[in-house]
Amino acid sequence: MELFTPEFGLVFWMFIAFGCLYFILAKYAWPFIIKSMEERAELIDKGVAYAQEAKSQLDNARAEADKVIAEARHQQAEILREAAKMRNQMVENAKGEAAAEAKKVSETALASIEHARKESEKQLRQEVGEIALQIAEKILRQDVSNDQAQRDLVDRYLNEVQTKN
């Protein structure tokens, strides 16, 4: 039965030993260890949450990038189409302008030709008149050149000739 009777000396030393152990560990070790472990658990939890958030953000970013790229392509196509349209329009405009210019130039040319023709006709008529008068003078041995009436006559004959022609 000695097993079931606590020995006083052993109780005493056990109490001392446990007391020392408790005070050393409670003062220097346990609070620090528990704090460190909890801090680390928190850090890991935070890290996991951060990683998940980063991953979801990355996925979002990819989707967003795809969206931006698609939009850019769309814009690019639109710009190209617009540019083509503008080019066509410019070509059309240039063509129109060129045609108008050409027409103007040719009209001017025609006008000047007409003018020159009339001038030369007038000159020719004058010269022909002169020649005719000279001829007539020669025929009449008379100087009729300065006679206005002769001139008018010649003019009239010439007009007749011209209208006959």
């Binding site: 000396g9 030993a17 409670a26």
Partner: protein, 352 residues
């Protein structure tokens, strides 16, 4: 090849055991007393057996206060029935194995005994081991910050996390940091003492947690902490519980039950740990002693045959005791936690 080597070693060991016993039996006849041997191993001793030599002992200081004041001497001076300064180890029925003072009239006087016995030294060794382990873990955190511990410290952290994170914190809630140092110290101290008790040679081998004085101190500490952290609600529920008046007024039935409960809880803690560890040691001792009992009765050959079974069963029992060491340390801690949490009860009738 491996099997052959193992078998060869086993045969050699068995032969040596047989030869050793045979040669021992040739000498002066040594009476085998199983009961005494078992109780000698389970109990305390002045001096610690030197490994593999049952006759030599490591001397330990004996500190006693006899009728004529304090005395202090090494246990080697009272070994083998010697008397030193009037003290010797008693062989009488009432003080068997303890140091007693021989009075002039021939009677024995049991002095106040503060000797550093085998168990006391075992307790000191266990305490030092716990301090070294826990301080190593603390140093890791102090040096490496929040890096995860490697190796043995990782295992320690696993145990701390298991005891604190999965048991103490969920049960005690916001009070956990206040009681965790005590509970964790209790857990590691019990665990270390249990495991040291399973090592059969010098630094271990003392049946510490299988000694009722050790478990009594731990249980009393839990009781004191429970009593001193009791809230007003706890004491009200103890002395004026919420039950019909007939159960508590003329005859304080409930009060008697509650107060008895206050003492039976730590008592159960004390007995459970003590009985579990002691029975483990006892079974191992009996299994080993079976070899010698059978050799005594039927001769060396039968004893060697018994040895095979005994060693196998002893191995199994030691493995089981390793498991029990963990379980009992954990059970003591979790029950202490629950008792403390019961004392920290908050009023819960207001909502009704």
């Amino acid at each position: 090849m491996k099997k052959a080597i193992t078998a060869f070693i086993a045969v050699v060991i068995l032969a040596l055991i047989g030869l050793g016993y045979h040669s021992a039996a040739q000498g002066p006849k040594h009476e085998l007393n199983p009961k005494e041997t078992i109780f000698e191993h389970l109990g305390d001793a002045y001096g610690w057996e030197v490994p593999f030599n049952h006759h030599a002992h490591i001397p330990l200081p004996v500190i006693v206060k006899g009728q004529d004041g304090w005395h202090c001497f090494m246990s080697s001076r009272i070994a083998d029935g010697a008397t030193c300064e009037g003290f010797c180890i008693s062989r009488s029925e009432s003080y068997h194995g303890k140091v007693v003072q021989m009075l002039p009239d021939g009677s024995e006087y049991r002095p106040l005994d503060f000797s550093i016995t085998k168990n006391v030294l075992g307790i000191f060794i266990a305490a030092v081991v716990v301090i070294l382990l826990v301080m190593a873990m603390k140093r890791w955190y102090a040096r490496n910050g929040l890096k995860a511990p490697r190796g043995a410290k990782g295992l320690l952290e696993l145990i701390v996390e298991f005891v604190y994170g999965d048991t103490i914190r969920p049960i005690l809630g916001k009070h956990a940091p206040r009681y965790a140092p005590y509970l964790l110290t209790v857990f590691f101290f019990i665990l270390t003492m249990n495991l040291l008790g399973l090592i059969v040679i010098f630094p271990g081998g003392a049946n510490l947690t299988g000694n009722i004085a050790v478990t009594m101190v731990l249980a009393v500490l839990t009781f004191l902490i429970t009593a001193f952290s009791g809230t007003r609600e706890y004491w009200k529920e103890t002395f004026w519980p919420d039950v019909p008046m007939a159960l508590k007024c003329p005859v304080p039935m409930m009060q008697i039950i509650e107060v008895l409960g206050m003492f039976t809880k730590p008592l159960a803690l004390m007995i459970r740990l003590f009985a579990n560890m002691m029975s483990g040691h006892m079974v191992v001792l009996v299994l080993v002693l079976l070899i010698f009992i059978f050799t005594n009765l039927f001769g060396v050959a039968v004893g060697a045959g018994t040895a095979i079974f005994s060693v196998a069963f002893t191995l199994f029992m030691l493995l089981l005791d390793t498991l029990v060491s963990f379980i009992q340390a954990y059970v003591f801690t979790i029950l202490s936690t629950i008792f403390i949490s019961m004392a920290l009860v908050e009023p819960h009738h207001e909502a009704e």
